[in-house]
Symmetry: C2
Subunit: 244 residues, 2 copies
C-alpha cells in the first residue's frame, strides 16, 4: 500500500464551495486530520478514521499526518479556506524539515476558496486591484512586524485583507491596527467586516474607516480595507481595474 498526505482546503463553510478535487481526496482517504471544527465537516464512513485535534497544535498534527502517510495510510489534512493561506500547508512543510524521507513522501496541496475571496465576492469586488493579505495574529510574529506590513501596504496603495483580526487573548490589538490605518488613510476609506461568510452565521457590514470600531470584528471575521480607489455602487463595494 502506498501512502500519501493531501492538505486540502474546505473553503469558507458552504459545501458548495469545496472543490471536486478536495472531495475526491476525502473519498479516497483512510484518515482525516485537523482542527476539530474542520474535521467535523467531513462525513463519517466505514474505513475512515477521523483525528480531530485542538487549536494551536499544528506542528504535532502535521507530524502525525506525515507519520501515517509514511506508514502507508492515505491521509487528508483539512484546513478551512485555502491550506496555503495562513493554514496547515506551511505547518506540514515545517514538520517535513525534521524528516529524512522528505522527498520520498507523496504530498499534495489541494487549493481551496480562502476566506478573503469569499468575503470579497459577497461584498462585490473590493480586491479587484492590487491587494495585500495580512495575518494580524501576533501569536507567531511580533506586533512590530504587523505594524511594518500595515504601513507599507497603506503607503503602497494596496487594498488589504486581514485574517485573525481579533481574539480574546489580544482584545486591544485590533484597536491599534485601526489607529495605524488612520495615520496613513483618509477617514472615508471603506472597511468591510465579513463574518462567517457562506455559513448560517454570515454577517456583512461596510463602514468608513472613521466609523470602524474594534468590536465590529471577532475571531470569525475577515476584514477588508479598500484602497483609496475603492468605491460603492448601489449596495456593492468594488475597486476599479484602472489607476488614472
Amino acid at each position: 500500500m502506498t501512502g500519501w498526505v493531501a492538505v486540502a482546503g474546505l473553503g469558507p463553510g458552504d459545501d458548495a464551495l469545496i472543490t471536486p478535487q478536495a472531495q475526491s481526496a476525502l473519498a479516497e482517504a483512510t484518515d482525516v486530520v485537523g482542527y476539530g471544527p474542520y474535521v467535523a465537516r467531513v462525513a463519517p464512513r466505514p474505513g475512515l478514521v477521523l483525528h480531530p485535534s485542538d487549536n494551536r497544535v499544528e506542528l504535532e498534527r502535521a507530524a502525525h499526518a506525515l507519520d501515517m502517510a509514511a506508514a502507508g495510510r492515505r491521509v487528508v489534512v483539512v484546513s478551512s479556506g485555502d491550506p496555503g493561506v495562513f493554514a496547515m500547508a506551511a505547518a506540514l512543510f515545517e514538520a517535513l524539515e525534521t524528516r529524512a524521507d522528505a522527498d520520498a513522501l507523496d504530498i499534495r496541496i489541494l487549493p481551496g476558496i480562502t476566506a478573503m475571496l469569499a468575503a470579497a465576492a459577497r461584498a462585490g469586488a473590493p480586491l479587484g486591484h492590487d491587494f495585500a493579505a495580512i495575518n494580524l495574529s501576533d501569536n507567531l510574529k511580533p506586533f512590530a512586524e504587523v505594524e511594518r506590513r500595515l504601513r507599507h501596504a497603506a503607503r503602497g496603495g494596496f487594498a488589504m485583507a486581514f485574517y485573525n483580526p481579533r481574539s480574546k487573548a489580544r482584545p486591544h490589538q485590533f484597536a491599534r491596527v485601526l489607529e495605524i490605518l488612520r495615520e496613513d488613510c483618509t477617514p472615508d476609506r471603506l472597511v468591510i467586516f465579513a463574518r462567517a461568510v457562506s455559513t448560517p452565521d454570515e454577517a456583512l457590514r461596510t463602514v468608513t474607516l472613521a466609523e470602524a470600531t474594534p468590536e465590529m470584528a471577532d475571531m470569525r471575521t475577515v476584514v477588508i480595507v479598500g484602497s483609496e480607489a475603492t468605491r460603492r455602487v448601489g449596495r456593492w463595494v468594488y475597486t476599479p481595474r484602472s489607476v488614472p
Copy 2:
C-alpha cells in the same frame, strides 16, 4: 421570468477545481458570456447561448450581461481563476455605475480558485505568510504605480504574487520588475515561475532572484516571489508561519 447575472470563477484550468456552486449556476444559465477561451470551457447544451468575445472588451461584455439579466435572462459571466482578482467582477461593477437599475438587478459573485493559490499549492506553501498580489500589466495603470507597489511590498516583508507579468506588447517591462526587486531583495530570494497550472501545459520552475530572467515568464505564467523567510524543503518551497 426573473433574470440574474452571476460572475463565476472557473479556476485555473482543471475542471476538478471548479466549485459546485459555479457548476450549479452554469446548469441554470440561459447565457454564458466571457473571453473566448473561458467560454470554450463550458459544455454546450440545448437552451444555452454562448457569447464568446475578444480580450480587452471587458466593459462591453459586462454591459451586455447586465442588459440580458435586466431582460430576464439568467446569465453567467465566466472568468478564469477567481472573478474578483484581476478579472471580470470589477468590470461588471464599473458597468453597473452607468445604470439606474443598479440595486434592482440580481447580481452574484461566485468565488473561484485564483491562479496564485493554484500555483502556490503546486510549489508548496510560498504564500503561507503575509503576501501581496500585484497585477504587473500597465494597460490600466502607469508603470510608476507598479513600481511603487513593488517597492512597498518588498520593504514591507511580503511575499508577492504577480499576475500578467509579461506580454508581447510590453516585452521589456518584466526585466525592469526584476531590476527593481534586485534593489530591495538579496540575490538568494526564491522566485517561482508557475505556468498554466493544472492544465496539460503546466510547468513549474523555482530559481533564485539572481538566476531569474524575463524569458522565464509569459502571458500564462504567475510569478511568486518569496519573502526573505521563504525556504526550500526537499522539492518544495514554503514560507514558515512564524517570524522570529
